[in-house]
């Protein structure tokens, strides 16, 4: 949210770079008329002004710059002052003879220009206030931009910006550099698809070309710089990068999750095997034992036969004992995994 217009009439300061003393006095008068508290610094040539900016700690509200100084003028002067002004808005003061150059200067970062013959207190004031407002908006936008850059860079999830057509990597955050073992420069040389093994390059390109919500395959393999393979899920969204369309892409390492699922499946298989054993193997001697008991209950007159069945009872019971021990061992091996 852009702040409301600040009150610039207090604590206003200006650096006036002007070799013509008459012009300076005029501007000084105009400014004092419009601003209550005002600090003015006057430099008569380029060298002095640069020295002043270099040594002074105070930051000016604006710089008023004459285009013709004894030691420098024209585009060279503008570029040099721009380089040293540290984002302070520059307003050019010029005569008709340099009007064309003044217009050009707007494209290289000068905030505004004023024709000396047309300056009056109101025009000067309005020009300065507009410049200050624009400067304040620009600073806020820059601050927001920095915030988003930090959100990108310090996101713990590996994140990239890609060109929409070629999938070339335009940017990679710190998490991506750490996780994958590539420097930002390494990343900038390759297309995102190169992070995938050969067979997957087309698949990932297809994924990017599909609509984001599509429930397509989302398990991919990524190769780290040390040759290690990880399994990842890929999330992406189309965004504007500067003036071009691009993709923001995140990868989520699911290798550990997949390993865990695999472990669980192996354990499930063992549990199924135990259930099968319970049903078929354990019940075999058990049903024999029960059957023998049934039999003895029906007919108990022949001692020799009873002894035979008791012996069978022992065999089946021992068999069951072995099976139960085996199940216990299998269950223990479940814990070890």
């Amino acid at each position: 949210m852009i702040n409301r217009m600040q009150d610039f009439s207090e604590n206003f300061s200006a650096l006036i770079i002007e070799d013509n003393l008459g012009d300076f006095i005029l501007i000084e008068d105009y400014l004092q008329e419009k601003f209550e508290k005002i600090t003015l610094v006057h430099c008569q040539d380029y060298t002095t002004s640069v020295d002043y900016m270099k040594n002074s700690k105070e930051k000016f509200s604006v710089i008023l710059l004459d285009l013709n100084l004894p030691d420098l003028g024209g585009i060279d002067l503008i570029n040099s002052v721009l380089a040293k002004s540290a984002q302070v808005p520059i307003i050019i003061l010029t005569g008709y003879s340099d009007l064309a150059m003044a217009k050009i200067s707007l494209q290289i970062g000068v905030y505004d220009y004023l024709l000396k013959d047309e300056i009056n207190p109101d025009i000067l004031f309005k020009t300065i206030i507009f410049s200050l407002n624009r400067s304040s908006f620009i600073n806020q936008i820059e601050a927001e931009k920095l915030n988003y850059e930090n959100l990108f860079n310090f996101n713990p999830q590996p994140t990239w910006l890609l060109d929409l057509e070629s999938f070339k990597i335009i940017h990679a955050n710190i998490a991506a550099q750490k996780k994958y073992g590539y420097s930002l420069d390494d990343f900038l040389k390759i297309s995102f698809t190169k992070l995938h093994p050969l067979g997957e390059e087309l698949l990932i390109a297809n994924k990017f070309n599909s609509t984001e919500d599509e429930e397509s395959k989302n398990h991919f393999t990524h190769l780290l710089s040390n040759g290690q393979e990880i399994k990842v899920e890929i999330y992406f969204k189309e965004i504007q990068i500067n003036l071009d369309r691009g993709l923001i892409v995140q990868s989520n390492d699911i290798s550990k999750t997949l390993t865990r699922i695999n472990t669980i499946e192996v354990q499930n298989e063992k549990l199924r095997s135990i259930a099968w054993t319970q049903s078929h193997v354990v019940r075999a001697p058990l049903s024999r034992i029960l059957g023998i008991v049934n039999l003895i209950e029906q007919k108990t007159d022949n001692l020799e036969e009873i002894l035979y069945w008791v012996k069978q009872l022992r065999i089946s019971t021992e068999e069951m004992d072995t099976i139960v021990k085996k199940i216990i061992n299998e269950t223990n091996s479940l814990k070890e995994n």
Binding site: S279, H280, R283, R288, L290, G291
Partner: protein, 126 residues
């Protein structure tokens, strides 16, 4: 009436045979140690007019109970109205019971061991 006990476990076969002999002393019993032998012995009784009852185990080497049922289905044996097949398994696994139900000519699924009541239910109705 002929009873076929098809089971690879000798003791199980002995138990069932003894039980039947005690309850129904006149019935003749054929013990088969796997389905292959069972099928061969049944073949010999194909033209007999006697009631035939099969007590079939599931887990057996060579040819198991399912293989036996498949053969019976293929050779249209089950058209013989005098033939009734009962599965007698130590398995209490639900999937085995469901599988057995898919064979229309299987009368019932029994868990081992067969009790006196079970035998009465199987044999008594004839």
């Amino acid at each position: 009436m002929e009873i076929f006990v098809i089971d690879d476990d000798l003791i199980q076969r002995m138990i069932v045979s003894k039980m039947i002999k005690i309850i129904y002393p006149s019935i003749s019993i054929n013990e088969c140690e796997n389905s292959k032998i069972g099928l061969a012995m049944l073949e010999q009784h194909k033209n007999s007019n006697q009631k035939i009852i099969v007590l079939l185990d599931i887990n057996m080497p060579i040819l198991d109970g399912w293989g036996f049922l498949d053969q019976i289905e293929k050779s249209n044996f089950y058209n013989l109205h005098q033939l009734s097949i009962h599965i007698v398994s130590s398995s209490t696994d639900e999937s085995d019971i469901l599988k057995a139900n898919q064979y229309k000519f299987v009368s019932k699924f029994f868990h081992k061991p067969l009790s006196r009541e079970d035998l009465n239910a199987i044999i008594g109705i004839y």
